[in-house]
């Protein structure tokens, strides 16, 4: 890549930082230059986020239909999967899977709920009384 070809498209890093890019100058020597972003990868990141939003909407619907416990919603909200959630709560993966069922979730002790609340960085109250019709829990 030539120095003058380093893309300078406005990305989400705007106002936070610019990234170092390596490119060759007019004499063919490598130099570094700051770049604000590249449209191609900005779009790639957009795809990742629209996937996340879709999964979140699905999770929300499942919780509303009583097909999954609110934990599923929070798990998607915090970009976690069962493996990560299990690591944060120190529950086994099979336990997390069980807790994702509404019936099992209803009977969880306050102590166990607290472990989930800590992992999601929310209160136990918010976990139990999540109102999915409002935006931004």
């Amino acid at each position: 890549m030539k120095k003058e070809d380093i893309p300078q498209d406005p990305s989400a890093l705007h106002n936070v930082t610019k990234e170092v890019s390596y490119a060759v100058d007019e004499n063919g020597n490598y130099v570094t230059e700051l770049s604000t972003g590249w449209d191609v990868k900005i779009k790639a990141l957009d795809v990742a986020w629209s996937d996340i939003e879709k999964k979140l909407a699905d999770a929300k619907q499942k919780v509303l239909n009583n097909e999954a416990s609110p934990l599923l919603y929070f798990m998607e909200l915090k970009l976690m999967d069962i493996q990560i959630l299990s690591a944060y709560t120190r529950f086994w993966k099979w336990q997390v899977k069980r807790h994702l069922k509404p019936r099992v979730f209803e009977k969880l002790s306050a102590k166990k709920l607290q472990r989930y609340a800590t992992a999601f960085d929310v209160t136990v109250e918010a976990l139990k009384n999540v109102n999915l019709n409002e935006t931004g829990v």
């Binding site: 890549m1 490598y30 779009k43 790639a44």
Partner: protein, 339 residues
Amino acid sequence: MKPEYKHLQAAHCENGVTTSLLQHYGVHQITEPLAFGIGSGLFFIYIPFMKVNDGPAISFRTMPGMIFKRTCRSLAIPILRKKFSSKENARQALDNRLESGHPAACQVGVFYLPYFPKEYRFHFNAHNLIVVGKEADNYLISDPIMETITTMTSYELDRVRFARGPLAPRGQLYFPKEERVVTNEQMKQAIITGIKRNVRHMLYAPGNIAGISGIRYTAKKIKKWRDTLGLERSRSYLAQLVRMQEEIGTGGGGFRFIYAAFLQQAYTYHPVDELMDISNQFTKAGDLWRDAAIQASGIYKGRLTEQQDYNVMGDYLLDIAELEKKAFKQLAETVKKLR
């Protein structure tokens, strides 16, 4: 506690931390490309049985932690690396190091990193930064991705040091144990070792998912994605490939440009003309990776939807594999001439 520290911005966090720390500890010759090359950072792997954020697990670089380890070992610099079981001990060890007037590097998770924009916060646990001092409850952080020194409260730092999930850092702390002067002769030998190891990894890695054969394997997979995954998921897969290749940390072109820069700098230690020629080949490889990314973006933006478009994408990777194979073969020959 605010020791003099020269912040260094780099393309990649581990290169940056390695370069910055080594410069601080007296190795004035080290640069980001040299650290990357001596640490044999260039790689390719596609792990088919693993998923990252529901997408393919692809990496363009070597395993986290290896660049620092190999570079220090090649230059005979003793290092200390420690994990902790409790936050208290981890914090105490860091504070002790800072009190003695020395910076220390930490492996951290990105998800709770307060100064990162939300769009970039995924559960990725192999980010690296340097803690250079402490003022009241605030730690001064030299993060190679940032343009200047930032701060984190002790609570925030604890949280990212003890992020959990795959590659959990477990409070990991590391630094060179003492100041060292490195001779140019040592640099020359380290460069040779780094090149040889990288040739080995790219050309002779066992199995078909790593190195050059990994690129070919991925090419074949991509051509099948449209049929096996359907349009929507294959778009997400391609977007993930491009993010691994180009997102902050790679210097562009899946680290190929940094490697090309390394070979140019290697030339100043080993004036053998072939090195410059091979450097050009890696620049071409990086350019091709970027052309491939543009093709991929046509697909995930929804402009290109035909099987033919996936074939073109796969063929890009086959061309790249051919080009890199040739470059590494030539590098393997050239490295024999270096003394």
